[in-house]
Symmetry: C2
């Protein structure tokens, strides 16, 4: 066993000090406020020092119980729990519908499918519009509900919509889809892993029954922490408490919520950083317009490079974007580093986050970059293109 | 919404700078090595920067894939996964036996019961010997297996033993119980939340099929991270991969392990701090004898206080201990702070971790305290007793 490889000096973060445009990293970068508290709360499950009720969401010092209510208000929902990531939140909700059926948009994250599989839910997909926009239309939900009714005799138990998908960064029309689901009486989960925490979310205004969010993806928290918000009508079903009793000891755990493993495992840095970043998060969601402005500028700059084209919806309504880049792919074919040339050229310029080896198309996220950083990134792509003989418009 | 309460200056850790003897905190205090890397890896799911295989346990830089093998070797098992805490690890294993039955020792942690409940396993308990030692005897497993056979027609699907229980800190005879389970052909989970990471563990030598550990409880890691170790015979059952396929898109996720939510949510500080602390953990388990020596010294000192008595097994074989303290309870009855006096008196002396309000009996953990700190804690209890008219032997 070579333990040297785990020494601190051998565990440096390769992207340290660089501009990171990895699609999943931008919204999870800690705020200065969160960074200021991490040393104090880093030990094990530090927040359990003053736990008297046996559940992390009921702790009053630090003020987690109040925080839970503030997060509910922020999302315009009634009640909130924290989970081991959005994936765990989806598992918790679907555990309330185990053995049923669920409709997912066909751009859903794999963890939505896995949460269904783990709970024995049959999955039906809502088609997307395909190349080049890959849009999910509200009528697709109604059509899928009717198809399921025809095939199985009843409407599905549950539906899920990925508010912003991880592939194209399309922003789905949650409100219209919420209306469709409400008309059919099918409860709707809105997966906001790429929206809540960076965009304003009005849960009740969108007619959703459940909101799932990701603290480490979009709320500037350390991993793992998910947000599960719901309305009062659903709390008993989803936050169901233990009913088991020991056959010899008579022990019971009536306060523990089963699908959260009794007490959700976020007790320590995840919930503390989520809380410390919250004031900045509440503020930043109001500045989403500025992020869109930057994103659209960036798309225009990238499309000045011969052959480069945004795919997904237009105009761009999110900072996560997907480009087709056939000209970079042509360079790769004749480059001695093959597909890795782009990754290396960017790294040389202090930029990371492109999947190494990818040149045919790639995804990036420009959320929270300053104009200066954004220009640096755009110029890097243009410069790399020009150096390899690809034309770039002025 | 009062956001001021989440400002860094309002989120100080109350126990900061004090000696913390809370039963669940001692083994989770970060090592200096872990502390050195936290700033670099604190953002969101930082380790996913260089993920190419879609699963955190397959990442090579940082060396998580190698680390997984080293942890398996350390526990003398074949394969390892990291989970969102020991509770999630138990959930994962029991998901492989969903709908069956499981035998638990009657000192098991509530999360063992909850994991069974969540997977629809019927729970049967192995009795303990009751006051004052509360021991779990190996023959209790055989007797419970036979009782279940009589009641249900077959032996249970699974058994679980809590290696060191959270109430008394008793160390169960895992090897003997492992033999009983192997004789009956019942797979055994050993919950080492209070042992692996501080004590040496020889999985195969104890005939166990699964080991569950807690990074934030005993391996000096930030929460949440659990360790799930098993032998090759069980990997297919427990690490089962997704078989779902999208009905419209044809999408499949064949590398994703279902009960881990596809990829276990430890991608960031939890796995990085576990890794950075690992060399120190490998070293510290060899010094367990010294910890026991300190624990026994501490018990002797505490029992010099009139009426104070250790409960649980004797001689003490672990650093987690439970005292009956009727004399402190008598003080509380006439004290103006009632039961809270003890908590406050200790706090005044720089010591935290006793449940506020508890005086009849309480649990503490002395793991990793220096002799100097240990003396300070023992003297504090003695001084508080004497100041309130309770006799203390010289």
């Amino acid at each position: 066993m070579n333990l040297d490889r785990y020494r601190p000096e051998n565990l440096r973060r390769p992207s340290n000090g660089m501009i990171n445009i990895h699609p999943i990293q931008r919204g999870g970068i800690l705020t200065d406020e969160a960074r200021r508290i991490i040393n104090e709360w880093a030990d094990g499950y530090s927040v359990c020092d003053l736990c008297f009720e046996g559940r992390v969401d009921l702790i009053r010092n630090p003020p987690i119980e109040e925080f839970k209510r503030d997060v509910a208000e922020f999302l315009n929902m009634d009640d909130v729990r924290f989970t081991a990531g959005a994936r765990h939140a989806k598992f918790v909700i679907m555990a309330g519908y185990a053995g049923g059926s669920v409709v997912l948009d066909s751009l859903a994250h794999y963890t939505s499918y896995i949460a269904a599989e783990l709970n024995g839910l049959k999955v039906f997909e809502v088609p997307n519009s395909g190349y080049p926009e890959f849009k999910i239309h509200p009528e697709g939900y109604a059509e899928t509900f009717e198809r399921i009714k025809e095939e199985t005799g009843s409407y599905p138990s549950l539906a899920l919509l990925t508010h912003v998908d991880y592939r194209y960064g399309n922003v789905a029309d949650a409100k219209e889809i919420g209306k469709v689901c409400r008309d059919y009486g099918v409860p709707l989960i809105l997966n906001t892993a790429y929206s809540s925490g960076i965009m304003e979310i009005d849960g009740k205004g969108m007619y959703v029954d459940f909101i799932v969010g990701s603290g480490h993806k979009s709320w500037a928290a350390t991993a793992p922490i998910g947000i599960l918000a719901t309305n009062f009508e659903n709390t008993d079903k989803i936050f169901r408490k233990s009913k088991l009793r020991g056959d010899w000891s008579g022990r019971a755990f009536t306060k523990k919520e089963v699908a959260f493993f009794g007490c959700s495992p976020v007790y320590g840095l995840p919930v503390m950083t989520l809380m410390a970043s919250f004031p900045a998060v509440v503020k930043r969601v109001k500045e989403w317009d500025k992020e869109i402005e930057k994103a659209r500028w960036f798309v225009r700059e990238m499309e000045k490079i011969e052959g480069v084209q945004l795919i997904g919806e237009r105009p761009k309504a999110h900072t996560l974007m997907h480009f087709e880049t056939p000209t970079f792919h042509m360079i790769a074919k004749r480059h001695k580093k093959r597909g890795y040339f782009l990754y290396h050229e960017l790294k040389k310029r202090g930029i990371v986050g492109i999947h190494p080896g990818m040149t045919k198309n790639f995804k990036i996220n420009v959320y929270g970059l300053s104009w200066e950083e954004l220009e640096k990134v755009a110029n890097a792509f243009k410069e790399i293109a020009e150096e390899h003989g690809v034309e770039v418009e002025d």
